[in-house]
Amino acid sequence: MRPGFLIKMGGALLVLSLGLLINPVDLPGIDQLGIDAGAAFAADESPAVEEEAVSPYQPAPKLTEKDYPTFLGFNGRVFVWIAAQLHLWFAAFVLAVPIFVFIIEAIGMKTRDKRFDSMAYEFIKVSLTAYSLTAILGGLMAFGLLVFYPHVMGYMTSIFKESMIFYALIFFAESACLYIYYYGWHWLQGPFKKWVHLTIGLLLNAVGTVLMLLANSWLTFMMSPAGIDAAGVFGGDVWVAMHNFLWNPINLHRFVANIAYGGSIIGAYAAFKFLSARTAEEKAHYDWMGYNANFVAIAGLLPLPFAGYYLVAEIYAYSQQMGITLMGGIFAWLFIIQAVLIGTLFLSANYYLWCGLGRSEGGVRYYKYMKYLALAIVAAFLVWFTPHTLVLSNEELKALGGPYHKYLGPLGIMPAKNTAVNIMILVTYLSFLYYRRANKIATVDWVKAGNAAQIALFVMAFANIFFLGIYHGYFTNTVYKVAASIPQVLTTLTVIVISTVIDSFIYKNSKEVAPQRWGRVPPRSQYALFLLAVSFTWLMGLMGYIRSGIRQHWHVMDVFRDNSPDAFTPSLGYATNVISVATIMFMAMVIFVFWLAQISGQKTQTAGFWKE
């Protein structure tokens, strides 16, 4: 292991957080990146130059079809694909749950409301079974890779051997933290012990995040290799290979997405329990749990399009070829499916909130506004998934005089999408505001002024988002088109923050107009929670395939060619079928996890079985 490697690893979190603050336009240009960048970085350190002269590392292997073993007629790619995807879904779930369990536990500690503590415990209980499934599937994926792609694993291991061992060792820490956190939950209660428990929760999250960062560096190395020369010979500095161009964008995107995903799976669990509940108390408990899980999912969902946009902008900046393959080329149609699924997430999240208005009689006064919110969100959604290149019949093609539509075509490019998604986010936030106000009446004497300020804020925000989207999106050059998305995002975030602050002051010491009756929601709302979880799962599968697929016939982009019989890019139908089958397998496993959580609380009376 190179000296200082552990220190660098320890600094990974710090670098990540600093890296996220770097403005994309400040990043080095394309000519300084990728393979050349790796060589350049290696050349900065004189020992590396010496090492290069007598490099102990081999160039990327040049494989033939025979170098890819076959086994019992299994299709190696599909095997690894499904195993990796199942592993990733569970991993995302088990990494995310401790994050919001930690937050909920802290809220419970601060407010001294035991309900939060019980809910946090129930969340972590669900994730515990999923943890072992994550490990099993991780093993399946690793062995699948070793069996079907031994040379790829050999090459990757030669570069990342330190971080791979480090990764395996960190699992001891992860397991230790998780088991103490879970099994010690009721033991570590009380003024001092609770702090100890919370600290273990924090450690669990820190260790989990480092695990994710390590695994991310391997896959981003395959997309945007660094620290190697044009032949794939490693320069010797594993930090350079890890800190490749797409590492931080993926880290950010996965971190936020995991939270949203974890929230949605827990939401599905609560819905499952709600629908099978027999008593009013149980219904009330799981309704409340579902609401909180949905809140977490939406909180993660709202910034997710921005993190995704940042990632794709960085992919474009790294390689025009990859960027166009992704969004203008062969994968563009999967992006339409992605858009539809993301829109479905927003629709189901909003529907769940609207259904929740019925928990309190006070919510009835806001019913009349929901149709306007629906109008705005559906209109934004239609723009969001309108493709640029349309599927046309010959007759339509003739009538339009070309594959582009004069009026709908402009809706197919990113400025329109950015505008639409910001509107969708703001409308979702509005739904939440209405929900929050449902059972309250403000008592402060400046309530009218406060409401007027909020209305003004929203009107200005909508105007600004439209101006930025239309003016910068269509009447300036590309660099400003991309840059305009940043003030759009900031507008949305500003409105959310300021409006939340104003609202919390307006409703401080508010009167309750009618009690919030947990459990009084229609079963339909619970199916919206299921829809949320299934859409998220399918979406992650699709997007994960695209992210990996844009390497096309390369194991390591432009360096290590994939010469297996499966090196072709599958058709959209084939790919979506594989992902759909994997989604069904995952949902079946999740139901198994839910069932385990259910039976763990059940007791059977066995009179006469045991000796008295």
């Binding site: 336009v25 394309i30 070829q321 539809v340 629906a374 559906v378 046309l392 010959n394 007759e395 709908l408």
Partner: protein, 255 residues
């Protein structure tokens, strides 16, 4: 008279559908493709469902007539009619969708395939990731010379390109109607405005035959301009394309 909720929902759907057809097909005279209209209507229906069912009272009003139709003994006649007509309607609809037609199947063609990392033309190898238009710098450094280069590019365009891509660069040249796929419309915000100049250089110099496999089935009539134009002429014509349309090439640098 208050319109029943179920009828309201149906009227919303019919109204939106009619609205799309009226606005696009009649007023704007740009037909709305049926593939897109179907997707639009699916989600309009989802939104309508959300609005009409998020509270119990409204849901009951929607469901009540359907429930009555199925359960109420006094509605036996109408129930029998509906139970015959509805399956017939869906059967007919399915038949219409599935029956063979003479229409060529729809194509999901990639208009802008991803460029290779490097391209070999004019006997040289160009790295498309780093390739820049050698004349672009004159836009700031020597505007007069730049205008001259644009004019030269214009002359190249008129002599070679306008037959297909049109004298207004809108893809409607005299030969355009005879081609499938039709020539690209450079005035559209989604074509050259989204691309780097290196991409245009690759597309122009290697033409239809130089397209990657992913773009197949590809019958593009675009010639391999490497055989007819010089490298300089291609760079100049690229300057002209951007100058005439008023777009700037995709770039990562601020002005």
């Amino acid at each position: 008279m208050k319109i029943p909720r179920l009828l309201q929902a149906v009227l919303v759907l019919v109204g939106v559908y009619g609205g799309f057809v009226l606005v696009f097909d009649v007023i704007l005279e740009q037909v709305i493709p049926s593939s897109l209209l179907n997707m639009y209507m699916f989600f309009v229906a989802a939104g309508t469902y959300m609005v009409f069912t998020f509270n119990e009272e409204s849901t009951e009003q929607i469901v009540a007539p359907i429930k009555a139709l199925v359960e109420d003994p006094s509605r036996k006649k109408i129930r029998n009619v509906v139970f015959v007509v509805l399956p017939l309607f869906f059967g007919l609809f399915t038949y219409q969708q599935m029956k063979p037609s003479f229409e060529a199947p729809l194509e999901l063609r990639t208009i802008h395939p991803a460029p290779p990392a490097a391209v070999k033309v004019f006997g040289k190898r160009y790295n498309l990731l780093t390739l820049v238009n050698p004349y672009r710098k004159f836009e700031k450094e020597d505007p007069e010379k730049f205008d001259e280069l644009v004019n030269e590019g214009g002359a190249v365009y008129i002599k070679n390109c306008q037959y297909c891509h049109g004298d207004k660069l809108d893809g409607k040249g005299p030969y355009a109607q005879g081609l499938n796929p039709v020539p690209l419309n450079f005035q559209d915000v989604g074509t050259i405005a989204q691309l780097q100049e290196a991409y245009l250089f690759w597309r122009i110099s290697t033409g239809g035959p130089g397209l990657p496999k992913e773009a197949t089935p590809w019958l593009s009539a675009m010639p391999v301009w490497e055989d007819f134009l010089t490298e300089d002429e291609i760079w100049k014509v690229i300057l002209f394309l951007y100058d005439y349309t008023g777009y700037s090439p995709r770039s990562w640098e601020h002005e």
